[in-house]
Amino acid sequence: MIAALGLVVGLIAGLILQPTVPLGLQPYLPIAVVAALDAVFGGLRALLDGVFDDKVFVVSFIANVLVAGVIVFLGDQLGVGSQLSTGVVVVLGIRIFSNVASIRRHLFKA
């Protein structure tokens, strides 16, 4: 309950405050958001599987975001930043799809 409230509050705050993305964060924010979404969908799936754990979720969330940021950073240093970002997004997208498929099976039995 409170988690869902947190998501809504964050969205509204972002829409109302309209912050500008700091220059240093600009390449990382989109990837970090996708990684966090992956963690959220994974957590939802775990919830429906009956194996959800707060600590695991928090750790996986932060680790996802950090790893995504590090990969993009490394890619930028190596000169393959955009390609690596695309790769990360593709991998996370596949994971999100499989998690959503699992959630769907739980909710709709199909």
């Binding site: 309950m1 409170i2 988690a3 947190g6 509204i12 972002g14 919830l47 695991v56 979720f57 709709f108």
Partner: protein, 265 residues
């Protein structure tokens, strides 16, 4: 990331998905849940921020190589626009400077020339005056017409007969023993004024069997007076052609090769 560690209040997998969700939503918030909520709030905040930044579409979201591409585009566009500016400035200078003024001057000169030839403008210059004294019934339209032809052959540029300007549309006829010019009867004594080279015109009148001879044979008399400064003041109103239309310049034929051009439609 989501390890299969069983939580304390794990719902049984046999329950429906919605019941599980409902139960979780009603669960009392613990410390761990607050942390989850904070993280999700951060996610929502970042999501909204990123969506806004992308929607703003500013250059700030672009990477370095994309920025280089944009810069390239802008440089090319600038070069194109500069070329266009130069072209337009050249056109403007041409229009503002002599070339168009010269064209206007030329057009006016042409209009004056055509006006003299068409009889819409007064003409002045050297020429001859042919004074004609005719006996009643002695003058015929063919004689007057012959005089006009001779004058034209001799290069007369403007002709006036009895105060009537002679142009390409002028016609003569015999009515009741008198010659009329476009319906106006000529008096017994009238003058033909022609502007051109006086010597040539006078010689054309004086050739054997020419105008003067013919006048004499018809009981009339003609006297040619050369003059260095004559003026023709009579005018003819300009009428727009009713049937003839200007043909495109491409189909025009230069004099000397004046084969009739069949109209295409």
């Amino acid at each position: 990331m989501t390890s299969p560690e069983p939580a304390a209040s794990a719902p049984s997998p046999a329950d429906g998905g919605f019941e599980v969700l409902w139960r979780v939503l009603r669960r009392r918030p613990g410390r761990g849940q607050v942390l989850v909520a904070v993280l999700l709030a951060l996610l929502g905040f970042a999501l909204a921020t990123q969506v806004r930044a992308t929607a703003a579409g500013g250059l700030s979201t672009l990477r370095q190589n994309e920025l280089v591409g944009v810069l390239d585009d802008v440089a090319q566009r600038q070069a194109r626009l500069q070329a266009e500016t130069r072209q337009l400035e050249t056109t403007r200078d041409q229009l503002a400077s002599g070339s168009s003024a010269a064209a206007l001057e030329e057009a006016e000169q042409r209009a004056r020339t055509l006006g003299v030839l068409a009889g819409t403008l007064p003409a002045r210059g050297p020429g001859i005056v042919l004074g004609v004294t005719s006996s009643p019934g002695g003058l015929r339209a063919t004689i007057v017409l012959g005089a006009v032809q001779e004058l034209r052959d001799a290069g007369a540029e403007a002709i006036e007969i009895g105060g009537i300007r002679v142009t390409s549309a002028t016609w003569f006829s015999d009515v009741d023993g008198a010659v009329t010019v476009e319906g106006t009867p000529l008096p017994a004594t009238f003058e033909v004024v022609a502007i051109g080279d006086p010597a040539t015109l006078a010689a054309a009148m004086d050739i054997p069997g020419g105008v003067l001879d013919e006048l004499t044979q018809n009981q009339s008399r003609g006297v040619v007076t050369q003059s260095e400064d004559l003026s023709i003041r009579s005018l003819r109103p300009l009428r727009a052609p009713q049937y003839a239309r200007p043909a495109p310049a491409a189909t025009a034929v230069a004099p000397g090769e004046s084969s009739p051009v069949p109209s295409s439609g």
